[in-house]
Amino acid sequence: MRQARFTLAVFVVAVAGALTLNSCGDSSKTSSTGNAEANGPYQLAVKIDPKFEAGSTMEKLSKAKKITIGTKFDQPLFGLKGPDGKPRGFDVAIGSLVASRLGIPYENIEWVETVSLNREPFLQQGRVDIVVATYTINDERKKVVDFAGPYYEAGQSIMVLKSNTDVKGPEDLRGKPVCSVEGSTPAARIVKDYGANLVATDAYSKCLEPLRNGQVIAVTTDNVILAGFVDQNPEFKLVGEPFTKEPYGIGVKKNDDKLRAFINDVLEDAEKDGTWKRLWQETAGKVLPTPSPPVLARY
């Protein structure tokens, strides 16, 4: 009798244990469409077992379940490194989106800092697979890398002290000291087209102190980068309308047409089904107004 009771007790405990363990499943459940849901900080659906053309970069990346993405680490709203060492922003969200369509979850993405100078060399050397880093598409760069997108259209703008009433647009900067990053397109343009005195450094954040104490009159670069600084520093303001068009693209290795076409398809789908808008509103859209997504330039 005692032995039977003991056996019954063990059996009950075993069944109860099995039921309990069964009910705490893992966090990513699979839905009937074959996608795992809500992965990573941007709640993206990671494609399960995507099929790609044999020999293509997409197949290589999705089989390895790893991707290296170059992005900025110091641009508020687009790519800003957080205290956990990982960048956050719209560029990061778009990169995660591309990875998720390759079947690569957010945790497997390796983020590498790419600054203006090393975006092309890193792509050429294969140090990164794609670059999503406020990367303006232009013909000079197309000689050495290829672009998918654009996924956003920024424009060059000017930031001054809130108390400044003299500067209303780029024409007012002629002969005045203006800060920007050495070698960037906005820096070259403000000198060539508007005759400003360029005071150059290697990071936009270094321009803020000279602006505060009056050593430079204005800081110029893409409006989204400036908007991030205005958001964090209320003593600055943007003036005038953006006076150029800077289409941000996703850089890929030259002549990898299949990868480029794939990324363009991913962007087009995201723009159609509202993912683009959602990712924007969760990142840069917290400060900037939500535009309509730009027309893709397939070539």
Partner: protein, 215 residues
Amino acid sequence: MKVILENFGLFWLGFISTLKLLGVSGIGALLLGTLMASLRVSPFGSFRALSAIYTELLRNTPLTLVFFFCVFVLPKLGIVLDFQISAIVALTAYTAPFVAEALRSGINGVPIGQAEAARSLGLRFDQVLTLVVLPQAVRMVIPPLINVFIALTKNTSVAGGFFVFELFSVGKRLANLHGSAVVPILVGIACFYLLITVPLGQLSQRLEARIALVR
């Protein structure tokens, strides 16, 4: 190669700017360094301490940090300088301790009998230094001194990140404009630096041959 020739004017502007930084900072560092070395061997304890503290502080601080202090912290303390002047101040302050230490090793190399004989003739400390000891000391330390100035030449590139346009800034600007020719551009920049450092090395050898004192 074509990129270098097309933009030669820009290279030249950067080169001149680097030369200007080198020249003014070099002379400043020489003067300040000699002063610091003299203070270090003076008979007054407070002067010796002052020089020792300055040398240790500036020698062990990275140049970028010294620049950072001059360009970003000084304005907060009320001293707003033109960017080129800030760069020269930073470079001078950083290089002076190296000059001072090189000179001090030369001073130590002058036989003590020289200083004693000068003192017994009734010469004051500053006269002992300027008339007897330093002339002999400098002739002994020409290689290390030229070393310091070659290092200064290369250190001027740090100014490029702090709002001064010099040779390395030219490299950054052109590399971004011509992404397909980054390597030739950097080689061109290196050649311009060599244009400064190689003659400095030659000068060192010539000076040594003529006025060096080997004990």
